[in-house]
């Protein structure tokens, strides 16, 4: 199966959105944890106030993303067998995509810019 096989375009938008939503959810979750950890290291009143406000905002964002994903049936926190199927399917499909060659082998593009980054210090020879 290659990138051009029509079988790969079946449910593609849905699968892609599910992946992006999962990334978004995990980022929101990690944000809540990071800020909570930072908060426990903080003493200054203004830093605490800001982190606390952003913690609440993060918790709310996390809830909104979860609710959206549950509504779209991209996330099944209660139907664990459904969730198990989704987990396995996304892992399998992503492994299949990872096996394909999606990009040109040589992706060096520096010659296309009018000036290579760090040219003046020999950065192109790094």
């Amino acid at each position: 199966m290659d990138a051009l096989d029509p079988a790969n375009s079946l449910h593609m938008p849905e699968m892609a959105d599910m992946t992006f939503a999962m990334d978004f959810l995990i980022r929101a979750k990690e944000g809540v944890r990071n800020i909570a950890i930072a908060l426990t290291e903080t003493v200054s009143a203004d830093a605490r106030a800001l982190l606390k406000q952003q913690l609440h905002q993060g918790i709310e964002l996390h809830q909104e993303i979860s609710e959206l994903m549950i509504r779209k049936k991209w996330f099944h926190p209660y139907e664990l067998q459904e969730q198990y199927q989704l987990d396995q399917l996304s892992a399998n499909q992503t492994v299949e995509i990872a096996k394909q060659q999606l990009f040109p082998e040589d992706t060096r593009r520096k010659g296309l810019f009018d000036r290579t980054p760090d040219e003046h210090i020999g950065g192109d020879k790094a």
């Binding site: 990071n34 930072a38 200054s44 982190l51 790094a126």
Partner: protein
């Protein structure tokens, strides 16, 4: 809390460094991924995150100026990659 000191403590500043970098990456991702997403509701929620994150970063940066290692910020990367 007594009168607030001029500088943040070292441990607070390092956590602020981590939170700012995480937030910066999230902002970049939410902004860029909107171009790949198909679902309009998901896209709208990401846009909401972009707006909130820009404000959040601005607030974090303002407090970061009180880090003990605070210094003037040049408009471009100051040090070359190679020595």
């Amino acid at each position: 809390m007594t009168n607030s000191p001029e500088h943040l403590a070292g441990h607070e500043s390092l956590d602020l460094h981590e939170v700012i970098n995480f937030k910066t990456l999230c902002l970049a991702k939410s902004k860029l991924m909107q171009g790949l997403v198909f679902d309009q509701d998901l896209k709208d929620l990401m846009q909401k995150d972009v707006i909130q994150s820009m404000q959040a970063l601005q607030d974090l940066q303002a407090i970061y100026t009180k880090a003990p290692f605070e210094t003037t910020v040049p408009t471009h990367r100051p040090t070359p990659i190679l020595n």
